[in-house]
Symmetry: C2
Subunit: 622 residues, 2 copies
């Protein structure tokens, strides 16, 4: 294990040790391509859209009412509305870091204006909530089951982490706000305090990272306390069962992620942080084993998690119906958070594989082209054409059948925003010997190894449209460049042009390492075979037996009725998928007429961008 | 169409005209067998259990508080708790009729004691609710979307119908209570009154039948008004969409049942009543067409309806996942109510077929052996062993994985009780020419045709264990005996022994009619081939593609882990089902080990009676 300087990288997760060291937004920049476009739309579309909605929905003005002492009159939004402001602040902080915005930039000014309003609402002892603690409201900490009081603070802490990691010297005051709130949480819920947890995990992961960022072991210990208190039934019974908030068995004893899929992933992420910081190998092993079973048995082919609409929860093992797959966008983001921590701890490529699958097929699916509408849930089979959402309206949670501009429970839009703004942090890592490239995007990487060697290279690629990744070294250095080879990429190869020599080798799934005394201008070319392939389901997954899904590289493909000329319920596979004019085409029989047609498939993340349609990912073989 | 005397038959549904005339509990008696046993347990177990729970949960005492003028303090239960008392009264009334209990019997005294407490809570103008209308409560009719105020009154009306049909001269006062409440509803919601409906259909079907029972056309007209007001959005928007309470499109324009499955069936039942009473053929045609599509595309092989836990609702066409099939017991009962009305109107055997399927596989599945625990939802695939319910506890709605004694929403137990107590009414009907036997059970039938001919016969059968049904004529008369031949019974035959002659003929699916001058002692023997058969799913039902269900006669069979020696997720069909020693045995391969074992299948309604297990109805072919 390598010990790191924990304060440096401008990244969301910076463990004090682990197999891999994260790189910050100042070390890795995405310069274009699939993700670069999404980052641009996130900046131009999503962030202003969220800010406008937080204002017009009254969720940000709630803080003004708190400061004015007039709450609860006029408070708007659900019990967790505060958290959306914090996620927005986190997204802005990463965006400032990503674009290296100046102190007098418009971004900075927007950030500071929101921080001022939040800070004004904080009470002298550090308490901060627009929902509790005043006359006419519930008492502080009186509604831990559903109140989301600590959950909101967890997001405040993550916002502060983003700020301190990107602008450590900023004088806006957010860090102090977070510190005062975290101190209060430690006083109230410490070992001698209330023996209680929040019904929605999040404060744990926020506290752990704030502790890392500020060098406050107390916060990490408090996170560990909260993690350990799960599974003792202190939250009481609810209709969905105690597994809903992971209060049924301890984090150590659980066999798989279960219950509410966002809660489960946030808690698992925090548990991974705690396991790392406390060097608790048995906890880490338990989490890895839970991840294995969850990915094998409780995860959709898209990477989506959560089979149930009713409780937004994981189903039983193998219960993965494509109809009404819930696959909440936020659960996908939570899964990335959890996998990322295990990747940093272990260096194993499987975690980066799932992150890629989830990024392309869940997170990229959510936002509309202009970044101003979103899927909350991500079904794998739409049986009736979706109904366009009113662009001025607020949709109930997951009921919109096409992307909607905002939700009563609007966790997903700011969650997407903070993920896209910080996405470069998930592209590459470093260790003592070199750099590991986990995700392929046009990008530039500049970092310094512990012994002072400077690693600098640029990545060019059309990924995932094509699988050629060309890395050009920008500075002389001896180091190991490790390239992830996705599990689907059988037949991959790597070619190194170095000092006039060309070396070729196979690149089996996992990772391929190239160690060289690299010279500026050397190139490493990874060729990933990106062709359409038919994937059969695991035989234990009853709901898609006798069907196949067509995948292409990291992308799951989908059939949309608009490309089939009939409802997708009519489709039966009648041959192999082929690539034709840059499209994947598959012969499909129409069940009623018996007629066979060649239909184009689209990337799943591109569905419902051309108006109402029916859509399916799994296509029957008969 | 025959015009009937609408006041006579002691039956839940007595249309003024139609293809078939219902027979009352005094005309048809179930004398033993499968359903006779369940009626006995209903009387000895379920009715006392319900009464005790209504008392201990405080739902019946709510009426005492109302009478004492102390509400809302101390009121217990959900907004629809009153309705359970009315369903219990309805069940008791049918039980009194079924057993011909004397006026001084214990059953009668129990009935009257409850009626007294209900009557004492009624307000002078006829209003009756423990939930609304007092200081500290919501105003009358102020919460139609979720308040269930009119819904409760609908059940009051059905209780009164049961009473007036079984004890028309009783002086307990329930009829007057119902009449005063119905008059109030007509004043408040008549053509010149509030243009509104209740969020849960039921008042419509209650009003229509009360109108029939009391000869009050006003009540039928009010039912018609409520039916017609559906689909105009007066209930407003909710997260589940307006189809949840069938307020999305008009009853006439709908293409299938949709939304909440109990609401949908209750409304459709009322619409069928209205169509019949107002001779509205186009409405009847619309309902028949909706029934067709619902049964083809939105109904489980068990007859169960409702695919979603979240909103207890129908899914889209072909969306029938066996995992977490909701298939609420009450939706099955509602489906029987709807089908029965269409059967009376048209005489078509398909409606009786669905009733039989639903009775054996949904309604019979709900109660435990002692009639004191119940399934609320009826999944077709249990992936993890159920957890036994605490016999003293009250379970959240459908979350119990084994039968539970009571629920916070406890609609199902009293719904089962009223259905079993009145079950004989669904066995046979009459027309001008004779009697139609729709359901096979040991029973005796005694009725008089319009022209005075007395039809009397007794039915002996071991159905559904075997398919031999022997009808022995008890009185000389010329009439037509029509016997339903279920759609699955290919190869059925009928043999008539009459006046020393024996006549045999094939009995194709639908119905076989035997017209004779019958003499006492003549017999008609129907042989239904009851053998295990493998049924493939409709190819459009994705969730069970590549699987089969084994059926035997009207019963759907299930595989329980206890008979397989392994989790049912491991099972793959490896041969044909055979009957051996009175059991259906099927060779099954265990997926992990490859080993093949002969496993007994049980009737689905018998599952979870031997402790926790996993269970599935659809078994994969590979």
């Amino acid at each position: 294990m390598t010990m790191f300087d924990t304060t440096t990288p401008a990244a969301p997760v910076v463990p004090s040790h682990g197999r891999l060291r994260p790189l910050g937004l100042d070390e890795v920049r995405i310069t274009g391509g699939f993700w670069g476009e999404r980052q641009a739309v996130n900046a131009s579309g999503t962030l202003p859209h969220i800010e406008s909605r937080l204002e017009s929905e009254g969720w940000l003005p709630n803080f003004d009412l708190a400061a004015a002492g007039t709450l609860p009159a006029g408070r708007r939004g659900r019990e967790f509305a505060d958290s959306e402001i914090y996620k927005f602040l986190e997204a802005l902080a990463w965006e400032i870091g990503r674009t290296d915005a100046a102190g007098d930039s418009e971004l900075e000014q927007r950030f500071r204006r929101v921080v001022d309003r939040v800070a004004a609402a904080q009470e002298p002892d550090g308490y901060l909530s627009t929902m509790f603690g005043r006359e006419g409201q519930g008492e502080r900490w009186s509604a831990l089951q559903w109140g989301h009081e600590l959950y909101c603070l967890g997001h405040l802490f993550q916002a502060a982490v983003a700020r301190v990691r990107t602008r450590p010297d900023a004088d806006d005051g957010l860090i102090d706000v977070a510190r005062r709130a975290a101190d209060l949480v430690c006083r109230e819920f410490g070992a001698d305090g209330r023996d209680a947890i929040c019904g929605h995990a999040e404060v744990e992961v926020g506290l752990a990272e704030l502790g890392r960022a500020l060098g406050e072991q107390r916060y990490i210990d408090q996170a560990a306390l909260f993690v350990d208190r799960h599974g003792r039934g202190t939250l009481g019974e609810i209709e969905f069962g105690r597994e809903y908030f992971q209060d049924d068995v301890s984090v150590r004893d659980a066999e798989a992620l279960r219950g509410h899929a966002v809660r489960a992933n946030y808690l698992s992420s925090a548990a991974a942080d705690v396991a790392t910081e406390l060097a608790d190998e048995s906890l880490l092993d338990a989490l890895r084993s839970q991840w294995d079973r969850t990915v094998e048995r409780r995860t959709y082919v898209t990477g989506g998690q959560g089979s149930h609409h009713q409780d937004e929860a994981f189903g039983d093992d193998w219960e993965l119906p494509p109809d009404r797959a819930y696959s909440e966008t936020c659960a996908g983001i939570g899964s990335i958070m959890f996998s990322w921590r295990l990747l940093l701890a272990t260096g194993e490529a499987q975690y980066a594989d799932l992150i890629e699958r989830t990024l392309f097929n869940v997170v990229a699916t959510s936002p509309g082209d202009d970044g101003r509408s979103f899927f909350y849930a991500n079904t794998l089979h739409q049986r009736t054409p979706g109904v366009p959402a009113d662009p001025d309206a607020t949709s109930p949670r997951a009921s919109s059948s096409l992307r909607a501009p905002w939700f009563e429970v609007s966790c997903c839009p700011p969650n997407v925003a903070r993920t896209f703004a910080s996405l470069a942090a998930y592209v590459a890592t470093a260790d003592d010997d070199g750099v590991q490239l986990h995700q392929y995007a046009p990008s530039s990487v500049r970092t310094t190894l512990p012994d002072g060697r400077v690693v600098a290279f640029d990545v060019e690629t059309g990924y995932p449209a094509d699988g050629d990744v060309r890395i050009t070294i920008a500075a002389d250095a001896e180091f190991t460049l490790s390239l992830r080879v996705p599990s689907w990429a059988s037949g991959a190869a790597v070619r190194v042009h170095s000092g006039g020599e060309v070396t070729e080798s196979d690149a089996p799934a996992g990772a391929v390492a190239v160690t060289r005394v690299f010279r500026g201008g050397d190139t490493v070319e990874l060729s990933l075979p990106i062709v359409a392939r038919a994937t059969a389901p695991h035989p234990m997954v009853d709901a898609v037996r006798g069907s196949v899904v067509i995948e292409r590289g990291p992308e799951v493909l989908a059939l949309e009725s608009i490309d089939f000329g009939a409802d997708v319920g009519e489709a039966v596979v009648a041959g192999e998928p082929v690539e034709r004019d840059g499209r994947v085409v598959i012969p499909l029989r129409r069940r009623s007429s018996g007629e066979t047609v060649d239909a184009s498939l689209i990337a799943y993340h591109d569905w419902a961008r051309r108006g109402p349609s029916t859509m399916r990912v799994w296509i029957p073989m008969n």
